[in-house]
Amino acid sequence: MSEEYLEEEDFQTKFTGKTFLRILGLTKPHWKWVIGFLLAIASVSGLDSFFTYLSKRIVDEGIVAGNKDALIGILSIYGALLVVQAIFAFFFIYLAGVLGERIRYDLRKALFNHLQKLSLSYYSRTPVGWIMSRVTSDTERVADLVTWGLLDMTWGFMNIVTSMIFMLIISWKLAILVFIALPILFYVSIQFRKRILVQFRNVRKLNSKITGAYNENITGVRVIKALGRESGNLEEFSYITSDMYKASYRAAWLSALFLPTVQIVSSFALGAIVWYGGLQADYGLITIGGIQAFVSYVTFMMWPIQDLARVFAEMQHAMASGERIFSLLDAVPSVKDQPKAYDPGTIFGEIEFDQVSFAYEDNKPVLQDFSLKVKPGETIALVGPTGGGKTTIVNLLCRMYEPTKGKIKINGKDYTDFSLHGIQSRIGMVLQTPHLFSGTIRENLRYGRLDATDDEIERAAQLAGAHEFITKLEKGYEEPVGEGGNLLSVGQKQLISLARAVLANPELFIMDEATSSVDTLTEALIQQGMETLMKNSTSFIIAHRLSTIKKANRIIVIEDGQISEIGSHSELLKKGGKYYNLYTKQFRNQMEQVYDPFKELGGASGLPLAVE
């Protein structure tokens, strides 16, 4: 939801040739289409002017001359060309439209594929909403510029040029009168367009504000009631709607003023034509049809002009969109394969952190001189306070980030020598808040190993203890999990992400245990799944549960980016240090849950008190 009202950025840029050329370059693979629709629209536009000229001939050669044959002849040409124009119209609408879709498609694809390569560091500093708008709205704007924008420009330009030619043919003196009006019309149009665009941007911004206000009013309604804040809220909200009223009213009346103004300016040209035309008529310099043609040309001249003005006004924003898109496409992944990277074949073996340091931002180290040797198949439990560096260690291990100092070695070799795929395809990971993709349960499980058979999938689910609850669902393995897995409970999601990891049959298993409690049965199943995984791989567990911690070969207490205690459960407990404190506290908490007398009594979930 939040993406929808991420505020519009005020980002505008000056016209830069480089960006413009790069945007135009997007059409390069489809240049035939571009040529096609440009030719088609140019023909349509030229024919439009020619029709006005034909109307003149109907009057002069047909009506005034009283010649029915000529009339029928001209109308036949008219009719035939009308069909020709319709065919061209078909082509330009189809070609430009499809090209627009195609460029949107191309851009989305390029952006998406590039995003897959970018490192976690990019994601941690770029909000998802920002990326979403690049892929959705910015691609629209850029595609519109190179299709409809280009088309409108060609149409407008051709229309003006061909009209001028015909006007010159009919009467050059009158034509010059019209030409004087042109730049004025154009200037006025651009000024209007720019102002209208600014107003519409304001409207959009206020719109997101209104949505945000509604969102807060609805989600917080219970607090508002409890605190009796209704009238204060309404007053605040009515300020936003007043601003909205002003901005959209202004946008509307500017738009309403735009065309009439252009019309009135061109009416002076019209007046002048009538005047001069009337004078010239005495000398037979202009015909009745000629006057009619001029009236038509001038009346319809404002359309190409206002189209051109619109394209120019919008171009700036499309350019800004283009720059943002290119900035994303040009972002270089900070973690990538070295030139000679190779697939190690296996990553099962001794893992060594050799004086590893790491900082997300330049001067704030989250990990300092961290050294650790892990034997193959060993299970390491990481415990300690939030922000101590536990997540950083596993992120480094998965090579989501690379150490800023020191080395991580697998079987004695620096892991940056290996290809990313070579490492990551052999890792199984279970996150604290499991992430599922919309689709069926089976699809989500298969994520662990794409070529797994249905049998293998079910086997993995059994090993992870997920099979039972899955088969109880209405559609079993074909049950959809909903967006982000929201149709399943937290415990179910955990079981599925465990089964997914089991299916991957990883050489390195990484798990960030969930802190939230699930029911006892699910808990036991989760433990069972974890054991399966830990048996066959080297495991790093960010642990919260006592049973997990106790099962580990070694426990590491991490604090302030350093190892503060290390050893087995009994060693550390005897020591009576930090681990002892952590453990006893956790013991009490967990036991309280285990012995909770209300658990058996628990009925349906309760009513929310003011807020859930």
Partner: protein, 603 residues
């Protein structure tokens, strides 16, 4: 309050009528004359446009065909400018008036809905989804705005253009007039059919667009999973499939457009040529003048071409009507009255509360509370212990009249609770949740939110100090001005709770409800919250919702609840005497300690 006045002048409940059209008309209350003005201006503007062609006809006939020249050339030229001025001026006026109507009505509707939503009952909000409500208050309201601003007026424009030009052509030649509109019904009908189809196809396209976005969103938020399983190329293939599907759907949509427009071009074109031919023949025969032919040729365009858009507008109009229906559904809901109640408001509330056989249930379904009997003396602390769903939250929710008890008697200072106005009750009751909802405003605003009086910085800081949160706040770079939420800092559950305590201290209620039911707060902050709470509870009737015994041992009355009933009541000492749930809970604590000792000894 001038800002709210614009909505206060008219109760939008009035738009609920049997006839939708009538409802829409009432939605424009106060703007009726402006809207009518907009339509009349449109008519004047269209007439001026048509007059331009008549003037052209006059000019040609009197200056070219004959040389009568009844007026000067300058007059004619000025006439053209004047007519353009009238046309433009009134077209502007029409746009302005329509915008004022549309934007003004929408603004009132927005304010009304906003206020309406915050006055709807808890029961309504319990069953209504947030997204749905937001959708209706924003997109549907905007669809209504477009209905007034673009669609209704757009249809009016086309109809008026048609009527005026058609009428004028009949004055030139009736036969010609009817020849000119042969294809009009065909065009209108096919364009309606076409746009209906298009809007269906467009929906499919939009749905696919949503799928593509969801796909992207899930990929971005699941980036760690994607990377950890090295599924980049799988993700690319998945995205490619949806992306391509959208492209194909878009192509189909475009094919429809690229067929409709040229074909309708030809149909309109045939009508034009027929018109030109007939007009020209009449002119050659002398049935009409040359000037009349020119006027006719000009007006013909304004009859035919706009018709193609009529279909689009009519189809859009029907979506506007659907939106109106959806908005109406919210408006139909009844507000919860805040100020009604016959009770005499006391100078100072004592806080004596008596529950006599109180029961509560929703319209349908099982009773939530049954046979609740409690006598709370002023200033007492009442602890409620029980599992989720046992009814403890429902019980305290009755006090501020969030829900109405359905049976029994509930007396506050001897007066039936539902005789007190809700606003008064809520001003006298302070609620502190386990994880309170904070608004995306500054911390200062969150503390003063709903206090209902002006407070200075000193008072705020005193409250924050008493709530043990002052040091946390001053630790932020921007102090009390720090924004909370998405655009600012994220506060921990305990910090949020202490901000809420500070807020409640400022509010200074007579009755306090404190929710302590979950146990996720870590021990350091727990002691801070305890001390803050002590300050808060002094001299107030307090209800504590608890999950653990330690925090409630000193309570004057402890109520153990299960399935909507009180199963045990008494003080800690009393409850320890009897064999029951309470002692069971208490015993667990000692059991845990013994086990822990055993655990450590066994290492």
């Amino acid at each position: 309050m001038s800002n709210t006045a614009s909505y206060l002048d008219y109760d939008l409940k009035n738009v609920i009528t049997k006839s939708r059209i009538k409802g829409l008309w009432r939605l424009m209350h106060g703007y009726h004359w402006k809207y009518i003005g907009a339509v009349i201006s449109l008519g004047i503007s269209a007439s001026a446009k048509t007059s331009t062609y008549l003037l052209l006809s006059f000019f040609i006939d009197n200056f070219f065909v004959t040389d009568e020249r009844p007026v000067s050339l300058a007059m004619i030229a000025a006439g053209f400018v004047l007519l353009a001025g009238i046309e433009g001026g009134f077209s502007f006026l029409s746009g302005r008036l329509a915008a004022e109507t549309a934007e003004g009505s929408t603004r009132r509707l927005r304010n009304y809905l906003y206020d309406h939503i915050q006055h709807l009952t808890f029961t309504y909000h319990d069953k209504m989804q947030t997204g749905e409500l937001i959708q209706r208050s924003t997109s549907d309201v905007d669809a209504l705005r477009r209905f007034f601003a673009d669609q209704a007026i757009g249809i009016g424009r086309i109809v008026i253009l048609f009527a005026v030009n058609f009428a004028m052509i009949t004055t030139i030649n009736v036969q010609l007039a009817f020849i000119s509109i042969i294809v009009v019904p065909v065009i209108v009908i096919t364009s309606i059919l076409f746009f209906k189809q298009v809007s269906k196809k467009y929906e499919a396209y939009q749905e696919q667009d949503a799928i593509v976005s969801t796909n992207l969103q899930e990929n971005l938020s699941g980036v760690r999973v994607v990377k950890a399983f090295a599924r980049q190329s799988y993700e690319m293939d998945k995205f490619e499939k949806e992306n391509w599907k959208k492209y194909v759907l878009g192509k189909r949509l475009l094919l429809m457009h690229s067929l409709f427009w040229p074909i309708s071009d030809i149909v309109c074109g045939v009508q034009m040529i027929t018109g030109f031919y007939m007009g020209a023949v009449f002119a050659i025969n002398g049935t009409i003048s040359v000037g009349s032919y020119l006027a006719y040729a000009g007006m013909l365009i304004w009859i035919i071409w706009p018709m193609r858009n009529l279909g689009r507008l009519i189809v859009q109009l029907s979506t506007g009507m659907v939106s109106f229906g959806r908005v109406l559904e919210i408006i139909k809901q009844d507000r919860e009255p805040l100020d009604t109640g016959s009770a005499v408001i006391p100078q100072k509330l004592n806080g004596e509360i008596v529950f006599k056989n109180v029961g509560f249930k929703y319209e349908e379904g099982e009773p939530v509370l049954e046979d609740i009997n409690i006598h709370v003396k002023p200033g007492q602390v009442i602890a409620l212990l029980g599992s989720t769903g046992s009814g403890k939250t429902s019980l305290v929710n009755l006090l501020p009249r969030f829900y109405e008890y359905t049976s029994g008697q509930l007396l506050l200072d001897g007066v039936e609770l539902n005789e007190y106005p809700r606003r008064y009750l809520r001003s006298q009751i302070g609620i502190v949740e386990q994880e309170p909802f904070l608004f995306s405003r500054s911390i200062r605003e969150n503390i003063t939110y709903g206090v209902g009086k002006k407070v200075d910085q000193h008072e705020i800081e005193t409250a924050a100090k008493n709530a043990a949160v002052h040091d946390v706040i001053t630790g932020f770079p921007e102090g009390y001005a720090t924004l909370v939420g998405e655009k600012g800092v994220t506060l921990s559950g305990g910090q949020k709770q202490r901000v809420a305590i500070a807020r409640t201290l400022l509010k200074n209620p007579r009755i306090l409800i404190f929710d302590d039911s979950t146990s996720s707060v870590d021990t350091e902050t727990e002691s801070e919250i305890r001390s803050a709470l002590k300050n808060l509870m002094a001299d107030r009737t307090t209800f504590i919702i608890a999950h653990r015994i330690q925090s409630i041992m000193e309570a004057d009355q402890i109520l153990v609840m299960d399935k909507g009933k009180i199963i045990q009541a008494g003080t800690h000492q009393e409850l320890m005497q009897v064999d029951g749930m309470y002692r069971q809970i208490y015993d667990i604590q000692t059991r845990i300690e013994t086990e822990l000792e055993k655990e450590i000894a066994n290492v």
